[in-house]
């Protein structure tokens, strides 16, 4: 009897310890994205704040409104959590994706996610698909390809094809002093997108882009880069933290709409070929 009691006690202590180590599952909110007020915004995807921030499982739909459309579904849903300090809003987005796609190349596409908010807070919301003329949407876009570069992947062909050999790049000619104006000019000459400041061209410091759209096909870089973010790969999916200032007119305690999109690179999803949500109500918690 004594031995049995002691075994039960041991099991009890073990279970109590296990419960203490396990992260608390956040409460689920099916109807809206609720961004609770936090004095300090989290900077990581495993901050304890995410244990209490309500989780909204956002169902993803095919982008089948404008060509080129996505005709076959892939990612079913994205789990959304949000918190705000009254100035900025941070989203924690996680979704299942068994293949990590972060290498660019011909016929290769990276995994990505985006958050879309109306540029102006008004009951008359823009069209959920990239907004519409005169009713802009602001988009924060994270890409696994960008993240890999920020994480240190070198900006050279061998980083993508390790066995690639190149005879010669004119910008690396012995006659050009490394870093000199002449050398940099030569580099630009063979990289027009880079010399024009195209945001798709590296090198890059951030894995995110601030974008604005007024309808499909109108996406452009915002005048200022104000978002930040980071993405982490787990065995079966991605978890991404995105943080951006609240859109104009939005403050603690107010409401707007938010939409999300997920691209599955191995499914050749890129641009308009994506899984996306409709507008989802977004409620900002009041400051305490």
């Amino acid at each position: 009897m004594k031995a049995r009691n002691s075994l039960l006690m041991t099991v009890g202590v073990f279970l109590a310890l296990l419960a203490g180590c396990a992260k608390k599952a956040p409460p689920v909110n099916d109807s809206e994205v609720k961004a609770g007020f936090e004095k300090t915004l989290p900077t990581t995807t495993d901050d304890p704040v995410w244990e209490r921030a309500p989780l909204h499982p956002a169902k993803l739909l095919l982008q089948d409104m404008v060509e080129p459309r996505l005709m076959q579904g892939s990612t079913a849903s994205v789990n959304v959590q949000a918190v705000s300090d009254g100035q900025r809003i941070s989203f924690r987005l996680s979704w299942n994706d068994p293949t990590a796609d972060d290498l660019p190349g011909p016929g290769r596409f990276g995994d990505a996610v985006a958050v879309q908010l109306p540029a102006l807070t008004s009951p008359d919301v823009p069209a959920p698909q990239m907004g519409e003329e005169g009713k802009a949407v602001e988009i924060t876009y994270w890409s696994a390809v960008f993240q890999a570069m920020v994480n240190g992947r070198k900006d050279e062909i061998q980083a993508i094809y390790p066995r690639a050999t190149v005879d010669h790049y004119p910008a690396e000619a012995a006659s050009l002093k490394s870093g000199s104006a002449a050398q940099q000019n030569m580099e630009k000459r063979y990289s027009p997108a880079r010399s024009l400041g195209n945001p798709m061209a590296g090198p890059r410091k951030l894995p995110v882009q601030d974008l604005i759209a007024e309808g499909p096909g109108t996406l452009r870089l915002a005048d200022k880069s104000t978002s930040s973010g980071t993405g982490k790969r787990a065995k079966d999916g991605w978890t991404v933290l995105l943080s951006r200032p609240l859109p104009k007119g939005l403050q603690a305690g107010s409401r707007t709409q938010v939409a999300f999109a997920v691209w599955e690179g191995s499914h050749q999803e890129v641009g308009a070929r994506k899984m996306r949500t409709a507008w989802i109500p977004l409620a900002l918690g009041a400051s305490q």
């Binding site: 060509e67 290769r108 063979y190 997108a193 195209n198 590296g202 499909p216 641009g271």
Partner: protein
């Protein structure tokens, strides 16, 4: 989709945008019979435009050996197989173009090559498959055939790349019809790579954008021909301007070859893009293959080309190929000489129909040496 007229298929067709032709259209004629696949054109282009990081695999200009050479792999046979029957009813195409065959959700019927498909240009294309026995020699009818196909962007009147881009990052320059990708606007979706049936747009993994042949427009703006034209040692190419068939001018070299003599034909006109690089078909290739590749006018074109020695205007104009770095906007033959003129009518080149022959004696008495080259 709009309805547009494509004279190469003899009918109206569907296209994403309404018909809007440029003020004038860049065009070219390539004589496949003269090409020796030396790849000087390929290197001229490569060193001029695609020597940067991310461009390693790109060949805006390439020369492949038909029927078994491709860049990228199977670029033509893949689409030919997927597109279905491509019959002609006389001069009118009875099948579907890549725009008409577009499936639900697509702007263009296309396919996307993988990176490996670009990896081995020209490898094995010209190799003799079996060993050759000692003393073997050819006799009788030669059943084997091949020819070299030099390819650049066709700067199509109805570009599939332009049509497919959801961001409208690709445009046709109104002043010369050259098709370019706006490198500031492109976001690298590769829709153009999927859509172009000729596979002449390329994704650059270092810049995150797609890039393509720009017909050396900085040279065109100076009245000069592109690099791949002027470096061609076989003198197979001539660049210029093409008119619509009803406005063809016999004194315009491209119009003369394409519209008047009909000796130069578009590549795969059935795709529906109205491509603006025209080919004089190779003479020793099975007719069915050429019919599929160049359309229903191929018999007449070959007949005309075979008779070129008797046609002083045609053979005269062909001697102007590769004779000048400048664009020959107009031409004229006077007896045994052919003249090329620029836009203003200024003579830029004059060539004899037949080069004078100089014969040197086999022995140089002054230097007391035998000459090895005496022609």
């Amino acid at each position: 989709m709009a309805r547009v007229y494509n004279w190469q298929i003899g009918r109206e067709m569907s296209y994403w945008y309404p018909e809007q032709r440029p003020k004038r259209q860049f065009a070219a004629v390539f004589d496949t019979n003269k090409c020796i696949a030396c790849q000087t054109c390929t290197l001229a282009c490569k060193t001029t435009w695609t020597s940067g990081k991310g461009q390693e695999y790109m060949l805006w200009n390439n020369v492949e050996t038909k029927p078994y050479g491709f860049y990228p792999l199977a670029w033509d046979v893949n689409l030919l197989e997927k597109l279905g029957a491509q019959n002609w009813d006389g001069q009118r195409y009875a099948g579907r173009t890549v725009f008409e065959a577009a499936q639900a959700g697509e702007r263009v019927f296309g396919w996307r090559p993988e990176d490996i498909d670009y990896a081995h240009p020209n490898v094995g294309e010209d190799d003799c498959v079996n060993g050759v026995d000692k003393g073997a020699h050819f006799s009788g009818v030669h059943n084997s055939w091949f020819f070299y196909l030099a390819r650049i962007c066709n700067h199509c009147t109805y570009p599939a790349c332009l049509s497919s881009c959801p961001r409208a990052s690709i445009y046709k320059r109104p002043e010369d019809g050259i098709v370019v990708i706006d490198q500031a606007r492109c976001r690298g979706y590769q829709e153009c790579v999927k859509a172009c049936p000729y596979k002449k747009t390329f994704y650059n993994a270092m810049t995150g954008t797609s890039e393509k042949c720009i017909a050396c427009f900085p040279k065109i703006e100076l009245g000069m021909q592109p690099q791949c034209f002027v470096n061609c040692i076989g003198k197979i190419r001539s660049a210029g301007w093409i008119s619509k068939p009803e406005h063809a001018r016999p004194d315009n070299p491209i119009d003369f070859l394409v519209h008047v003599k009909k000796v130069a034909l578009p590549l795969f006109p059935q795709f529906g893009l109205e491509p603006n690089v025209y080919y004089i078909p190779p003479v020793n290739v099975p007719r069915d293959f050429l019919l599929q590749m160049f359309g229903p006018d191929v018999d007449a074109a070959l007949e005309t080309y075979r008779n070129a020695p008797k046609d002083k205007d045609l053979s005269g104009l062909l001697t102007l190929f590769g004779s000048t770095e400048f664009i020959v906007a107009k031409w004229k033959r006077a007896d045994e000489q052919v003249m090329g003129y620029d836009e203003s009518g200024k003579e830029i080149v004059r060539v004899p129909m037949r080069e004078p022959t100089h014969v040197r004696q086999p022995f140089d008495a002054a230097r007391n040496v035998a000459r090895t080259n005496i022609s």
